[in-house]
Symmetry: C2
């Protein structure tokens, strides 16, 4: 095929189009529309409900930045939970940390896992029987409610706050996450773009701040997500990510994350900083 | 009009589309195709040769980051030159600095200036007879060659490295810029996206580094530019932007730039850092 374009309507007024050579897979799962296409610009791409989730060429940014910032802030993360993240990218990064003994993936849509293993094996590499990895096809909200005091780090690697992920952006959920963490645990959630989702970021930040003693927002540049500027919100019971002693961080090969960038990512543009302040 | 979309082909394989309500102006100047459209997402937009140059809603990022980093690194910038920048955004920021006595804009295409004044007056505000501002409709390359030792800061606020701006990405030009600067002068140039123009960034960095004792790359997030992650390359004769004493920086109202972000912007993602290293 040539001359075929995939277009995500990132907002009602903004379109993001990638030329693609092949539709490798499409299906309607019990939860969402799922597609894998092969794009010229970004390589293979996972699309859920017509939104770009991840691509071979830029996935490293999101997956390194959702995982290493929290895992290097915690001095000794042993047990890690990823809610969502069925493509396997976040858990692949998590198990690189020598201290991590167990990483549990709780993805509601098993078809995302299976399709990623088939078409995106570079991203899903830790889902093929890795000794540290446990995969649950289950509702993350429920799993969190049933596992108090279990985890050192919980990552909320969700889709947009519509459809199956809606419950992952709610105050009650953050309270459950707090309870599922050990007394010095850390949570991190992807929290969308300050250029297009400012209200969501403001609301989620306040919700997490009402639950966790240390709440911080940080950014990363993800070219295939709306506006390219993405935020993550961290809630921590004890450790401050900006004060972390990164000289002790494990030596993990990365393409985006560096210890210096870990600290720099918390230095927000002024209009983003404003979203973290109470009116 | 409704249902009308403007699409920039950011690369042969990537399209960026904005819904627009009105075409306010189109013309073919002696140098390029020029258009002003009113978009739903970003407000009024300046388009040159079918590439988004600036928009009302996100222009603050580019214009603050091309100007304040250099102007706050220099301890006493008095005379500033902007090459290109006919929309007026960079010079608007430059004249906010109390130390700046004169800011010269040298734009090759007078129609960009006039059209920006008519349709983008918020951006072009300093072009309406500001006492510190001198506007030249002339070839920046030539002007720089004829003004040795004149400037404290020179900003290269160019379009893409094709068409009228080609000469602004050449080694010979950086040598001329060096000569046009005072003995402690600083230059800064917009140098495209590391996700789509890696080779250009690598080449320009090495060229500027062959001319200036201090050469540094920094980034900013510009949603309407390809990939959203943008770089600027700074060449400095004496001052290091990472060592600047920003406690003495003037108190200028900004929406993106902060003194902390000034330093953080030089902490590069690892794959971008790699573009600044010799092979």
């Amino acid at each position: 095929m040539s001359g075929f374009w995939y277009t995500e309507k990132q907002t009602p007024n903004l379109g993001y189009s990638c030329k693609f050579t092949k539709t490798l897979h499409t299906e309607t799962t019990p939860f969402q529309e799922l597609a894998i296409i092969d794009t010229e610009q970004w390589g293979r791409m996972l699309v859920l409900d017509n939104m770009v989730m991840t691509t071979i060429n830029d996935e490293f940014v999101y997956h390194e930045m959702i995982s290493h910032v929290a895992l290097n802030t915690h001095p000794n993360p042993k047990k890690v939970m990823i809610i969502g993240g069925g493509d396997g990218g976040a858990i692949r990064e998590a198990v690189k940390h020598p201290s991590v003994e167990k990483a549990v993936l709780c993805e509601i849509d098993g078809r995302v896992i299976e399709t990623s293993k088939e078409y995106l094996p570079e991203i899903a590499s830790a889902l093929f029987g890795h000794p540290k990895v446990e995969v649950l096809v289950a509702d993350g909200v429920k799993h969190i409610q049933e596992n108090a005091g279990e985890y050192d780090v919980i990552m909320v690697d969700s889709t947009e706050p519509i459809g199956p992920a809606e419950g992952l952006f709610a105050l009650e959920f953050y309270k459950d996450v707090y309870r599922a963490l050990k007394p010095d645990g850390i949570m991190v959630a992807q929290t969308e773009s300050p250029f297009v989702n400012a209200d969501l970021i403001r609301r989620v930040f306040q919700d997490i701040q009402s639950v966790f003693p240390v709440t911080k927002l940080y950014t990363a540049s993800i070219p295939t997500y709306p506006s390219g500027l993405w935020t993550f919100t961290m809630g921590s019971k004890v450790y401050d990510p900006e004060q972390a002693d990164l000289s002790k961080a494990p030596d993990i090969e990365t393409r985006y994350y560096t210890p210096a960038l870990h600290k720099a990512a918390f230095q927000l543009p002024r209009f983003v900083e404003a979203l973290t302040k109470k009116d």
